[in-house]
């Protein structure tokens, strides 16, 4: 069993009159257990050169209803460039340059892919990683 943690820190000195300083750490476990997730895609980096909507992560039978965690980051440095993130055609949001997201992904059904559409075709870099309980392997 592996032990993996994900920690978020939200900070601001001036978004409100009181300083914002929140830190939250989660230990990434399999659904409904205290057993750590033990599989990962590793950290991937892809440079997109088309605005085509693509499947970033394919929902698979072995993952449905489980406790996968997904990290996605837009590594562009041009503030106007974004990637549109959708799940099963439902728009989640736009990751602008430097933005990242971290979600639990229960792969609610076979159509519940995580998809990504770059806003530009001029070499937009994205990093992503999934830590998960299992993924269906495609036969050769």
């Amino acid at each position: 069993m592996a032990t993996t943690t994900a920690t978020i820190t939200l900070s601001s000195a001036d978004i409100q009159s009181d300083v914002l300083a929140l830190t939250k750490q989660a230990t990434l476990n399999k659904g409904g257990t205290t057993t750590g997730l033990e599989q990962t895609t590793g950290l991937n980096k892809v440079i997109y050169t088309a605005t085509t909507n693509i499947v970033l992560l394919d929902s698979t039978v072995l993952g449905v209803g489980k406790a996968a965690k997904v990290y996605i980051a837009n590594k562009s440095t041009d503030a106007s460039e974004f990637v549109l993130i959708t799940i099963n055609a439902q728009i989640i949001g736009r990751l602008y340059a430097g933005d990242w997201m971290f979600i639990p992904w229960s792969q609610s059904d076979a159509a519940g892919n995580i998809e990504l559409a770059p806003s530009v075709a001029t070499a937009l870099p994205v990093e992503y990683m999934m830590i998960h309980e299992g993924a269906t392997q495609t036969s050769a």
Binding site: T3, S12, I15, Q90, I91, G93, F102, I103
Partner: protein, 130 residues
């Protein structure tokens, strides 16, 4: 204009043969520019029913904006969870101690919904930056 940052660290000594430890910091800016998001909503809610309800409704938010949302299950139960969705699409389950951070489009009907798995006083905390 406010300056707000969100930092993530993912770490494991044994998930892979080589230790995993990376950090990424985002400065939370408005759509397509370098001006910081400048409003925040912060709340804690306790739920005592398994009904699906809106945690954050789109009313009052700018559509197709660069809003950010943080949600955490403050409980400690490994079996109790919140199902988090947008409109009718399930994103995932937040078990006790889990958190998530997403960009939120806030277009028409894109309310963020929450469904507790049990009716025995589950608590979520959330923040919306817009």
């Amino acid at each position: 204009m406010a300056t707000t940052t969100a930092t993530i660290n993912i770490a494991s000594a044994d998930l892979t043969d080589n230790a995993l430890n990376f950090t990424n910091t985002a400065t939370l800016n408005k759509r397509g520019n370098l001006e910081g998001l400048d409003t925040i909503i912060s709340a804690t809610k306790t739920f005592t029913s398994t009904s699906a309800v809106d945690l954050v409704a789109v009313t009052g938010f700018t559509a197709t904006a660069a809003n950010k949302v943080y949600i955490a299950n403050t409980g400690t139960s490994e079996s109790d969870y919140f199902v988090i969705g947008i409109e009718s699409e399930e994103i995932g389950r937040l078990y006790g101690g889990d958190w998530m951070f997403i960009p939120w489009d806030a277009s028409t009907d894109d309310d963020i919904t929450i469904t507790p798995s049990v009716a025995t006083a589950m608590t979520a905390e959330y923040m919306v930056f817009s």
